[in-house]
Symmetry: C2
């Protein structure tokens, strides 16, 4: 997908470009895509309205550009934090923790990605589909070596994405209580992934 974005050529122009990007990320987060005007963005970036269109052909393209950039960011950051782990168990723990912490540190990303469902459905689907695909690859490997039980890994990938996304939601929107101790939350998730929810002798 080519977005027709004009890359800045000079150092000063790079500052302008990045200023627009950063202002937009903050404003899209605070007020949403529709609650943010191009004038808001240029004002926050300290440039004139027309400057915006030197680089981006439209507000929508800027949004798409930001979404794609942030998607890559979050993925590479999680990959980075998971790298050290040797077992699937440890990978899962680190991955879940990384996602929650990242979402807390940069709630913009979380929010902007979710909003894509209502702005550009194709990008939304692409994001979760490819996230799932990468997840499945890891889970399949772990299934081959017998680290995880033989389950449909595609479904499991959505289960795990759902868990991390909703637990992160709880933390960053402060729903309910006890949202400060992330390690404790991760412990509960891992406990459930280890032993399940039900008492072994009371399953039905």
């Amino acid at each position: 997908m080519h977005l027709n974005i004009k890359e800045p050529m000079t150092r000063n122009a790079q500052n302008t470009f990045q200023g627009i990007e950063r202002a937009a990320i903050r404003l899209f987060y605070e007020n949403g895509y529709y609650g943010t005007t191009v004038a808001d963005i240029t004002e926050a970036a300290g440039v004139a309205a027309g400057t915006f269109y030197l680089y981006f052909p439209s507000k929508l393209v800027l949004y798409q550009h930001i979404l794609i950039t942030l998607s890559k960011d979050i993925r590479s950051e999680i990959a980075r934090r998971v790298k050290g782990a040797t077992t699937r168990y440890e990978k899962e723990r680190l991955g879940i923790k990384a996602f929650i912490e990242y979402a807390r540190e940069r709630p913009e990303i979380y929010n902007i990605i979710w909003e894509s469902l209502h702005i550009d459905r194709r990008l939304f689907k692409e994001y979760y589909t490819s996230f799932s695909e990468r997840y499945v690859k890891g889970l399949d490997k772990a299934a081959e070596t017998g680290e995880i039980r033989p389950l449909d890994t595609e479904i499991v990938s959505f289960i795990l994405m759902g868990i991390t996304n909703f637990v992160a939601l709880k933390v960053i929107m402060d729903l309910g209580s006890n949202n400060h101790n992330i390690d404790r939350i991760v412990d509960v998730v891992m406990d459930l992934l280890e032993c399940g929810l039900f008492e072994p002798d009371r399953k039905n």
Copy 2:
């Protein structure tokens, strides 16, 4: 919260009112809140633009009204379908299945509730908080009787909401494959909730 909605007094007016509601639900689903104009709604409902304001003081209030109505619908429907179950295990299975099937039958609801994050953050928080609270009550009871393992039920409620929401997302947006056999999907979820993800002897 009072929304200042004018209830219709006559039978004809009730038709008008419901026509507006229904058209709005469909359009908010298809094109989102911001992609839907009041003119779109009134045209789809077959009434004049001004008629809208006989009943709703603003487009936002209509949205809030719809959100609250649909929240109640989905909750009562799930409660209804879960009623028969005696064990927590069965309650969980029926609840998850009911949610996925309901989301598939009426994807409007699912979509409209999610969009509230970017339209009325308070309603969004309220929805998930109260959904969680009700969930916690059931889980706490099950913990008392020893049906489920002793875990932080508030965190577990978000884990379970995350699982059902994302699995439903997969089904209704047809992400990945095998989205037709809901029973099979529910089986995988219940299997994971029963036995966990990892092989017992390979946990780390």
